[in-house]
């Protein structure tokens, strides 16, 4: 048991250390390490974990690590796996943040970041488009997405209220749709 917990920690530390971009980028490595190498869970479990991670709040990487850790070695396992996933980022960013500020005052770096911000905008547009393509293609979904966009872009309404409101709209419309099917 103790060995298993340590192994969970080390495995997820490695997953955290070698995934760039986080979230979905982490899944292939996670599958190789937890299914193929250690046999802790099955391929079907991976699919279920993705489904759960998508329908619960929080970063997908943390959700999956906690879930796999719990399935493999209970609560202690979930602590080990989550800690393992978080630590590499935490350490690396902590080190970077200590000199990023001074670094940003150098003229060449300022120029570089002028270009980088434009590049990041392009990356974000691409990331958004990928999400948009996967959106359910029906009118209620489009209406909610448009509503959330307009309220968030053009009013000062708090985002937490927008998110809560959209969740309620989704719940109500799905109940209504469910009744219609029954009738």
């Amino acid at each position: 048991m103790k060995n298993r917990v340590i192994k969970l920690f080390l495995t997820f530390f490695r997953i955290g250390l070698f995934t760039f971009g986080g979230g979905y980028a982490m899944i292939p490595l996670m599958q190789r390490e937890t299914v193929e190498k250690n046999g802790w869970i099955s391929d079907d479990d991976i699919l279920e974990i993705i489904a759960i991670a998508e329908s619960t709040p929080g970063p997908i990487a943390i959700n999956s690590a906690t879930f796999i850790g719990y399935k493999t070695a209970g609560v202690i396992g979930s602590v080990a796996a989550t800690l393992g996933t978080v630590l590499p980022s935490f350490i690396i960013i902590l080190i970077i943040s200590f000199f990023l500020r001074q670094f940003q005052d150098i003229q060449a770096v300022k120029f570089a970041f002028n270009g980088i911000r434009a590049g990041v905008l392009a990356l974000l547009i691409k990331a958004w488009w990928n999400m948009f393509k996967k959106m359910p293609k029906h009118s209620v979904a489009y209406a909610i997405a448009t509503g959330a966009f307009v309220v968030s872009a053009f009013t000062d309404v708090n985002i937490l209220i927008v998110i809560t409101g959209c969740g309620i709209v989704g719940l109500v419309t799905s109940i209504i749709a469910g009744r219609r099917i029954k009738q």
Partner: protein, 186 residues
């Protein structure tokens, strides 16, 4: 107290983020910029750093904001804050998995939350677009400003490369080179 504030803010952000990747971005903008912890341009700069370093974006950004505001302890508080909601909820779900999986309430809520996140990220990207071009004054002279056209060109070319599946780190490096060359030439 900054440490408690960091923990609670990121706890809230973690609890309300649905979906991976940049789903957290709208909330970060709303909370972190509103509190005056970071400027929007600093967040955009940091996205480049987060893309070029390992680990989930959520952990990277919370560690960074925490460290900027309160050093190592600040980073610890904000990262703990962002992780805890996921951690607790997943433990509960893992325990009551069958009920969760067949719950109509969960699937109903998610049918609203998924499109909402797409709309919210759209608004976040629009706002970042404004930040990228905010150094230019809006007037007719903008069209004779070479720096403006360099930015427009960079977004378009890098956009095309991104859709052609060029690696994000390569895009960031190329954008940096364009920025440096343009900065010294113009």
């Amino acid at each position: 107290m900054i440490f408690l504030d960091l923990f609670l803010t990121f706890f809230k952000i973690g609890a309300f983020t649905f979906g991976g990747g940049y789903a957290m971005l709208p909330l970060i903008q709303d909370e972190v910029i509103a509190k005056g912890w970071l400027l929007e341009s600093e967040i955009v700069n940091f996205i480049a750093v987060a893309e070029s370093t390992p680990g989930p974006f959520a952990i990277n950004i919370s560690t960074y904001v925490g460290s900027e505001m309160g050093g190592i302890l600040g980073a610890f508080c904000s990262t703990m804050g962002v992780v805890l909601p996921s951690f607790i909820i997943i433990l509960l779900v893992a325990h009551w998995y069958e009920q969760f999986k067949s719950s109509k309430i969960v699937s109903g809520l998610m049918s609203g939350l998924k499109p909402a996140v797409i709309g919210l990220i759209g608004a976040a990207v629009l706002s970042i677009g404004k930040t990228v071009f905010s150094s230019f004054e809006i007037s007719m002279e903008i069209f004779t400003n070479p720096e403006f056209w360099v930015s427009v060109g960079t977004v378009i070319v890098m956009g095309i490369l991104a859709f052609k599946k060029v690696h994000p780190i390569a895009i960031i490096c190329m954008s940096a080179v364009i920025g440096i060359v343009a900065g010294y030439l113009i």
